[in-house]
């Protein structure tokens, strides 16, 4: 019997250091197949002897497995970023609520990503790009601290076939010719049909709230703005209590929630 807190061994199939100071790993089960996932879900990745952290799933690898992007921030993410192809890690999951792809069918879709927030949105974007006829106008807004901090640059170029893509940065370099400033400015610049728009938003909490508020100001109903909450998740099962945000266990009732539910919780400081 494998208990629900016991990770399953996964092998690092490939490791790619991103320009954006992150590392993208493809992880495959040491034995058997990995479970299916839905856009927005995450796994708990265990660095043996160091610890375990939640990492969103960015897609399927070419030969199966999970593509997951990690930025070195704490002890565990640093250990995972140092890991080499062929190494073993532990994986539990996938966990959490997904981005509801059915909810945006037939609508114009805005995907707004701040920094590493593009990682959990990548499967959303790929799903939209794979079925352009199923959706209306597709817009991708990306905010990053610096031009080199934009994740998946090569794929962005490919997605441009289906998406109106706008990228803004906080700190431009010499070569940058695009917009500078907050992603909310991009929201203010694009055409929005509020009654037929659905938005998927992921990034730092302050960015998500500002983006969602900007969309609401443009008339998009809060119930059609999905965002991915981040809290301290330790178990992924609603058992450890750490990730609570008001009534939500973020790991099982989230991470993806719509803004009508999230807004009253996020506006209370230190809830």
């Amino acid at each position: 019997m494998t208990l629900e807190m016991t990770p399953i061994p996964y092998r690092v199939r490939s490791r790619r250091a991103d320009r954006a100071e992150s590392v993208t790993l493809t992880l495959e089960p040491a034995e058997g197949l990995c479970p299916t996932f839905e856009p927005g879900q995450f796994t708990m990745i265990y660095a043996p002897g160091v610890g375990e952290i939640p990492i969103s799933i960015s897609g399927r690898g070419r030969f199966g497995g999970y593509v997951q992007t990690i930025r070195a921030a704490g002890a565990v993410s640093r250990a995972l970023c140092r890991i080499e192809a062929g190494d073993l890690v532990g994986v539990r999951g996938p966990y959490g609520t997904p981005f509801d792809m059915g909810a945006s069918a037939g609508m114009d879709v805005i995907v707004a990503a701040g920094g590493l927030g593009l990682a959990p949105l990548r499967p959303v974007i790929r799903e939209l790009a794979a079925h352009p006829g199923r959706y209306g106008r597709l817009t991708l807004l990306v905010g990053a601290r610096t031009p080199s901090g934009v994740l998946y640059p090569r794929e962005l170029a490919r997605w441009a076939r289906h998406f109106d893509i706008r990228v803004t940065v906080d700190r431009p370099d010499d070569k940058w010719q695009g917009p500078v400033g907050l992603i909310t400015h991009l929201v203010d610049q694009i055409a929005i049909g509020p009654r037929r728009t659905y938005a998927y938003v992921c990034g730092p909490e302050i960015m998500m709230r500002a983006t969602a508020d900007a969309l609401v100001r443009r008339g998009v109903p809060a119930g059609r703005i999905a965002l991915s909450l981040e809290r301290n998740m330790k178990c992924g099962l609603g058992h450890c209590g750490h990730c609570q945000l008001g009534p939500l266990f973020t790991c099982v009732d989230g991470p993806v929630v719509t803004y009508d539910h999230a807004a009253p919780l996020l506006e209370v400081p230190q809830l």
């Binding site: 807190m5 330790k234 450890c240 230190q270």
Partner: protein, 356 residues
Amino acid sequence: MDKQPNPVLLDALDPLITALRIGGFRVVGPTVRDGVIRFAELSSAAESPTGWTDAQEPGRYRLRQEGELVFGYAASPDSAKRYTHPPRTTLFRWDKGPIEPEIDAPPTALIGLRACDLAALAVQDRVLGGSAAYRARRAALFLVAVDCATPSAVCFCTSMGTGPKAEAGFDLALTELSEPHRFLARAGSERGAEILAALPHRASAPADLAAAADVTRTATARMEPRRFELDGVKEQVAAARTSPVWEEIASRCLTCANCTIVCPTCFCTTVEDGTDLSDGAAERVERWDSCFTFGFTELGGEPVRASGAARYRQWLSHKFSTWVDQFGEYGCVGCGRCVTWCPAGIDLVEELERLR
């Protein structure tokens, strides 16, 4: 059980303890240790706190000798939680892959649980029922409840609707009666009935049942001064998120986590990772944690709930408001442990009334 046989009288506890031990259970019950009633493994009723009673008030707990009762005291700092959800447990070891330990769930008979403790177990079942280790430890328990005769000054189970009489969720329940000293015993499960039938017992008389009803009536009356109306509390606490009362409470609260440790429903845990120096294998340990600790909500190096006020708000709001959202019931059973063991003597019943 299909039919409820009449309760029977037991003259002593030792035959029950012996029967449970012969039945393969380690028997755990109350005993006096370090000036406190604690749960410990018992080999005979002589180790029980016969003739001891407690005085509890906010921030204070004292034992004194009085009367002849075996169960003449209110909630102790221990509860069934220690046995269903241990303070520290190894989740797995890892050596190129996981090595799971056997789940440590020895058959255990818990003697002396009160109605509030049974209610807390039912609450825990809903929170942790998804954990195979919890289910195994829970299934290993044989529960001997005791109707509460002597609630303390901090108890409020009648307000929470959980006591003082044990109504369900036990294998056996006892009502301790005086003059002459005896126990009125009833079974709550088939295996409880089997154990009871095999014990030396006498038939009960209507007078015994009346005396038992009197125990519950007296206990209920003792909690009357503290009784409060539960209706509306969920909404009122949720509406008080930005109340200045939290800051005022935080000026007294030490965020020491005592309340969450003694609480029979508080379930939060964290994990610790390490490496076994003898063989180099990694090890992951789960241990109790508390929403009062500073780093509990740490995200990117900073806690979400940095202030003591936010942490107290989380704890009390969870018990009386968001627990209802999550599980359809309150996370408080009215045992009063958090009030007694708060070094600052913060009484959540008083604070609740101020927030409403």
